[in-house]
């Protein structure tokens, strides 16, 4: 049995889903919604100021997806196409909303945010090993990570992120998009994307660390 590459698998998955949608398969539609809808909300929130507006934008995007289904040629992945539609709806709506924050400025959220609390390292003037761990991380037990609580902690941490960071980590790490796709959808540069991803992942890791520490028997 020849092993399919990830891309080949995506293509054949897409073809299967498209075929099902085009004949009105409700189950296939619900599965797709389940997979993408929460992430679409996170992305919409990068463009519009409120959750209520974001939900409207996502509903509108789904309508756009249905309308465009017959013509969709599959030149890009289904996911990329759907996020593209969402991006357009979100941008248009964002431009109309008086209090929307341009995404280019979201990269500058909290400029001097360290990945780890500086107190966990020896200070720069320390006589020995300045900048090295003073409170180092301890390895996470595998079974703790696989539990529902860990996944919930990650979900909560992502929900608490500022919009730009949340959108990037959603697309990259939840959805598994390539960085070029993310830059396209959000209209940001590669460098910008990387900074947002770094801050997002650092915060989520820190949150997960606190959660796992709290769970340990004393």
């Amino acid at each position: 049995m020849v092993e399919q590459t990830a891309l080949a698998r995506t293509i054949s998955d897409d073809e299967r889903v498209l075929a099902a949608l085009r004949v009105g398969d409700e189950q296939a539609f619900l599965v797709l919604v389940q997979r993408l809808h929460p992430s679409m909300l996170h992305v919409a929130l990068a463009f519009v100021p409120s959750r209520a507006v974001a939900e409207e934008v996502v509903q509108e995007a789904w309508l756009g997806v249905l309308k465009g289904l017959a013509q969709f040629e599959g030149r890009s992945s289904l996911r990329r196409w759907i996020f593209g539609i969402l991006s357009n709806c979100a941008r248009t709506r964002g431009a109309r909303e008086a209090r929307s924050v341009p995404l280019s400025s979201l990269g500058a959220e909290d400029d001097s945010e360290p990945a780890v609390d500086p107190s966990r390292f020896r200070p720069p003037d320390h006589s020995h090993w300045p900048g090295h761990w003073s409170s180092p991380p301890t390895p996470w037990p595998e079974e703790q990570l696989l539990r529902r609580e860990a996944v919930e902690a990650v979900e909560r941490a992502i929900q608490d992120l500022p919009p730009g960071q949340r959108a990037v980590i959603t697309l990259r790490d939840i959805q598994g998009c390539e960085s070029a796709e993310v830059c396209d959808v959000l209209g940001i540069s590669e460098g910008n994307q990387r900074v947002l991803l770094h801050r997002a992942r650092s915060k989520v890791r820190a949150h997960l660390e606190r959660r796992l520490q709290a769970e340990k028997p004393r």
Binding site: P38, E55, L66, G131, W133, P139, I174
Partner: protein, 86 residues
């Protein structure tokens, strides 16, 4: 130590470069410094592993709950669209 061997990476610098390292975006020089640090600093090895585990955990969120009212709205839209299918 920063004074003594300034080209050697500290743990504090390491944690700021983890994302770039995983992206393959570090310069060859920084990547080498980063890897030199990994050779001996088991704490930073653990940190890098935690980063990998964090992003893997995020991947498990791909299927998550959609609020019922949103689902219903979408299902209604889908059924309406369906009726138009030849």
């Amino acid at each position: 130590m920063t004074l003594r061997a300034p080209e050697q990476m500290t743990c504090r610098e390491f944690v700021e470069l983890v994302t770039e390292y995983l992206e393959g975006a570090l310069s060859l020089e920084d990547r080498t410094r980063f890897e030199h640090h990994l050779v001996f600093c088991t704490w930073c090895v653990d940190y890098l592993q935690q980063m990998r585990e964090t992003l893997r955990a995020a991947g498990r969120l791909r299927e998550s709950d959609v609020p019922e009212n949103a689902k219903e709205k979408l299902l209604r839209a889908f059924r309406q669209w369906k009726r138009g299918i030849p």
